[in-house]
Symmetry: C3
Subunit: 159 residues, 3 copies
């Protein structure tokens, strides 16, 4: 993976390409992490008995309720995931298709994924003082911007 | 499609691969379904005259208003779509690139898409008692988790 | 780019395909535009000192606060981006893999990206009267529907 050998471009998005495999693995980790946010929200809803729909009132004598801080914290973290990880998925795939340096690319995929896992931990699971969340957030943001710069420079003539 | 013949890996993400075509069709269905949620929200906004921006006040003597239950129900359904279908799109594409069993893959694509259409119907169009929505939600969630497990096992050595 | 020469299908998702390069460039522009929405939200939060988490209270004598119109306007624009641009990314990639007419495809990518930049300007940066935002919104929506129709017709037999 550390020897940036030339590769036929047709093989970039296949399992023959170790950089693609690395992307696959860490994108899968992030997809699972995002889906677990739904379950974490559900957990909070049942723990604090906060449900937003009439048909969800699984307990007696409760009413639909919004704006519970425990539920909303998880939902904000989940929304932040959507705002950052989903564009990153596309950006990573695009970046990969421009045949980047394998070592750089793999390490970016690893760092970005770990940063977002930390972001979830310090935001939704166990809130800690800033700037921990800002740093975790900025890590993936800067990685995505870097990938965007690489791709934009490569494809600028096709504007 | 039912004969899992070996295929050159370079051809996995082309129209020569019937599994890819199946993914394309059902992903397209889900994209259209998601975009229709925007129009359904707009429909509810005009029906109940609930607009969130000053510049959207198309009727006289109304003010910006939030938290209308009819509008918010559609928006919650739409957000749930983003939380689940968008990661699924990436997961499906990734899963496809690992050359899965064609019959299994195609059926997963079909079931997942139909489940989310049912989810929208029982959530945003005509609310029905639980656990109909939970079942529709869990179907795509479990399918995405299954795909993630398949990919993670295939790419674990590239961590 | 204007001569729709036949191309080996395996080469569609590579830099050898100018239509793919055009998609890469404009998708990158839209990814950057979306990420800037996060920074614009942060800017508004600091300008009006509106923070949703206890750990974000960077100034003395302020409390967590929601529903500030300046912050919420940017967040609505950002959510609208997620609702429309993220499905468009997948739809564009899918559309590209069906080997569309290069001139048509490139122009669709260009118009869609410019329309969403205008959408952000008239929604989140400098609000102007309707129907400017509706037109910008409808442009990408119709382009995505068109791409969906093309793909659905090509892959209908793989339902």
């Amino acid at each position: 993976m550390s020897t940036p050998s030339p590769m036929l471009k047709e093989q970039l998005l296949t399992l023959d390409n170790p950089v693609f495999c690395c992307y696959l693995f860490w994108a899968t980790v992030l997809v699972v992490k995002m889906l677990l946010m739904s379950l974490l929200t559900a957990l909070q809803r049942f723990r604090y008995k906060i449900f937003p729909n009439e048909e969800d009132l699984f307990f007696k004598n409760i009413e639909v309720q919004f704006d519970d801080p425990h539920v909303e914290r998880v939902r904000r973290a989940h929304r932040n995931d959507m705002e950052n990880i989903l564009p990153y998925f596309i950006m990573g795939l695009i970046y990969l298709s421009t045949d980047p340096n394998p070592t750089v690319a793999c390490n970016l995929f690893r760092v970005a994924a770990v940063a977002r896992i930390l972001h979830t931990l310090v935001y939704a699971v166990y809130p800690v003082p800033q700037p921990s969340r800002i740093l975790a957030f900025a890590t993936m943001l800067l990685i995505t911007f870097y990938m965007a710069a690489v791709v934009a420079l490569r494809t600028l003539s096709f504007i």
